[in-house]
C-alpha cells in the first residue's frame, strides 16, 4: 500500500488499474517539476542570451563562461551540489525546489543558445530602422527584436520541453518522489516490475506525443513574422 492505495496482483490488467492512482500522484510531481523547470529555463535562458549580447564585455564574457560551465557539467552533479553542498553554507531548499532549479538552470544554458540564434536571425535592417526611429536599446529588444525571434525559437524550445520532461526522473536522486520512483517502489514491494515500469513508459510516451502535438499547433497558430506585444 502506498498513499493509501492497495494493489491487486490477481491479473496484469487488474494490477495496472490498481496502481494507476499511485502513479497519478507521481505524475503530478513529474508535471510540476517539468513546468517549473521549463518556466525557469525559458526566462533565465532569455536573460542569459540578452546579457551575452551586451556591448559591455564585463557582462558578456562572464555570462558566456557561466553558460559554458552549466552546459559542460552533468545535471546529476549540479543536483547533488545544490542538495548536499549548499546546506553546508546555510542554504537549505526543499527537494522539489532544488530539483526544479537544477533542471531549469541546466536547460537555461541550452535555451539561451536557442534564443541567441533566434535573436541573431532577426535582420539587421530591423535594428537600423529602430536606430533611425531613435528607439532605446531596451525598447528595441522588447518590442522589435524579441517578438520577431519568438516564432523562430519556438520549435527548438519545444524540443527542450520534451527532453526536460523525460529527464525529470533524475530528480529522484535528491528524494523527489516522482512517477518513476513510485513505480520502482511498487516493484520492490510486489517483485512485479514489468507492469509498473511499462505503465510509466507508456505515460511518458503519451505525454511527449501530446507535448509535440501542442507545440506543433502553437507553431501553426503563431504568425511567422512575430507577435507584437502591447
Amino acid at each position: 500500500m502506498i498513499y493509501g492505495f492497495a494493489w491487486d496482483t490477481s491479473s496484469a490488467a487488474a494490477f495496472a488499474w490498481s496502481i494507476l492512482p499511485i502513479l497519478g500522484i507521481g505524475l503530478i510531481v513529474t508535471l510540476e517539476a517539468t513546468a517549473a523547470g521549463f518556466v525557469i529555463a525559458m526566462l533565465l535562458g532569455l536573460v542569459l542570451a540578452l546579457l551575452r549580447r551586451s556591448r559591455l564585455r564585463a557582462i558578456a564574457w562572464p555570462t558566456a563562461a557561466a553558460i559554458e560551465f552549466i552546459r559542460d557539467t552533468p545535471l546529476l552533479v549540479q543536483l547533488f551540489f545544490l542538495y548536499y553542498v549548499l546546506p553546508v553554507y546555510g542554504i537549505t531548499l526543499p527537494a522539489f525546489v532544488t530539483g526544479a532549479i537544477a533542471l531549469g538552470v541546466q536547460y537555461s544554458a541550452y535555451t539561451s543558445e536557442v534564443y541567441r540564434a533566434g535573436l541573431d536571425a532577426v535582420p539587421k535592417g530591423q535594428w537600423e530602422a529602430a536606430v533611425a526611429l531613435n528607439l532605446s536599446r531596451v525598447r528595441t529588444y522588447t518590442t522589435i527584436i524579441v517578438p520577431q525571434a519568438i516564432p523562430r525559437v519556438l520549435p527548438a524550445l519545444g524540443n527542450y520541453l520534451v527532453s526536460m520532461l523525460k529527464e525529470t526522473p533524475v530528480l529522484s536522486v535528491v528524494t523527489v518522489v516522482d512517477m518513476v520512483s513510485l513505480a520502482n517502489m511498487i516493484g520492490d514491494r510486489t517483485f512485479e516490475y514489468l507492469v509498473p515500469l511499462s505503465l510509466v513508459g507508456l505515460i511518458f510516451l503519451i505525454l511527449t506525443l501530446l507535448c509535440s502535438a501542442g507545440i506543433h499547433l502553437l507553431e501553426r497558430a503563431l504568425p511567422k513574422s512575430g507577435i507584437a506585444l502591447q
Partner: protein, 264 residues
C-alpha cells in the same frame, strides 16, 4: 566667387557640416578627407557609381556607421565628443539627441513585419516622443493619408506591395518630425511600375520648406526635378556639385560626363 562656388557653399549657416571626415572599412577607405555642407531646408541629391560613398554619408549621419577621423556637426551637435566612448566617441544620450533630428528611409523599407501599419507609425512617437496613443494615432492617420494609405492602417506589411511599404516607411519616418530626412535608394528595391508612387510622395515632401532632404538615387530625371543641388561622388569624394540643370546639361568633369552617359 564664381556662380558654381556660390551654389556649393550656401550663404546661410549650414545645418550639416562634414569636415575632413575619413571613413574606412578595414583597409578600404570609403570616404577620404570628405568635406560637405548642407543648408537648412536644402534638397540635395547624391549620385555616383556604387561604392563611391554616397550611402555611407547617409549612414554616418544616421549614426549607423562610425567614422575614424574628422568632424561632423549637425544642428550644432558634434558626432564625436572628446569625452565620450564607443564607436562615435560620444555617449548614447548625446547620440539620441542627434538622432531626434534625423530620419531615414531605407532601400529595403525595414518595416516591422509583426506590427500593423498603424502600429509601425505610432511605435516611436509613443515610445520616444512620449505622445499619447490617441494623439499619435490621429497624427499617424493624417500622415498615412498624405502618402495615400489611410485605408491600409490595419494591414500588415506583408499584405502591401513594395511601393506601399515604402510609403508607410516614409510616413513612419515623418511621424518623428525630423529636421533632416535621408533617403537611401528608396526606389531601388521596387518593381519599375511601383517607382512612380514613391517618387510622387518624395516629390511632395520636396515642397516642404523646412525639411532638409538628402537623397541617394539612381533616378536621374527625378534628381534633376526635385533637388536644389546635385553632388556627384566618385571614390569617396565629391568630384562635382552644383545646380541640377548645370550638372546634367554641362558637367565640367570628365568622370561626371562618363557617369551620366552610362546612366542616362
Amino acid at each position: 566667387m564664381t556662380q558654381a562656388a556660390t551654389m556649393a557653399q550656401p550663404a546661410s549657416e549650414p545645418l550639416i557640416r562634414f569636415e575632413k571626415v575619413v571613413k574606412r572599412f578595414g583597409t578600404l577607405t570609403v570616404l577620404d578627407d570628405f568635406d560637405f555642407t548642407v543648408a537648412p531646408g536644402e534638397k540635395v541629391t547624391l549620385i555616383g557609381p556604387s561604392g563611391s560613398g554616397k550611402s555611407t554619408v547617409l549612414r554616418i549621419l544616421m549614426t549607423l556607421e562610425p567614422f575614424q577621423e574628422g568632424n561632423l556637426v549637425l544642428g550644432g551637435m558634434a558626432y564625436h565628443q572628446p569625452s565620450g566612448h564607443g564607436p562615435f566617441r560620444a555617449n548614447e544620450r548625446h547620440l539620441r539627441q542627434i538622432r531626434s533630428q534625423v530620419g531615414m528611409v531605407f532601400q529595403s523599407f525595414n518595416l516591422f513585419p509583426h506590427m500593423s501599419v498603424l502600429r509601425n507609425v505610432i511605435e516611436a512617437p509613443v515610445a520616444v516622443l512620449g505622445l499619447k496613443r490617441a494623439e499619435a494615432e490621429c497624427r499617424a492617420v493624417e500622415l498615412l493619408g498624405m502618402v495615400g494609405l489611410a485605408d491600409k492602417k490595419d494591414h500588415f506589411p506583408s499584405q502591401l506591395s513594395g511601393g506601399q511599404q515604402q510609403r508607410v516607411a516614409i510616413a513612419r519616418a515623418l511621424a518623428m518630425r525630423p529636421r533632416v530626412l535621408l533617403f537611401d535608394e528608396p526606389t531601388s528595391a521596387l518593381d519599375p511600375q511601383l517607382v512612380g508612387e514613391v517618387l510622387g510622395v518624395i516629390r511632395s515632401l520636396a515642397h516642404e520648406h523646412d525639411l532638409t532632404m538628402l537623397l541617394v538615387t539612381h533616378e536621374m530625371r527625378f534628381a534633376r526635378e526635385v533637388s536644389d543641388r546635385v553632388c556627384f561622388f566618385d571614390k569617396g569624394r565629391i568630384v562635382e556639385q552644383g545646380e541640377p540643370e548645370r550638372i546634367f546639361t554641362s558637367p565640367e568633369q570628365a568622370r561626371t560626363r562618363e557617369f551620366l552617359q552610362s546612366v542616362l
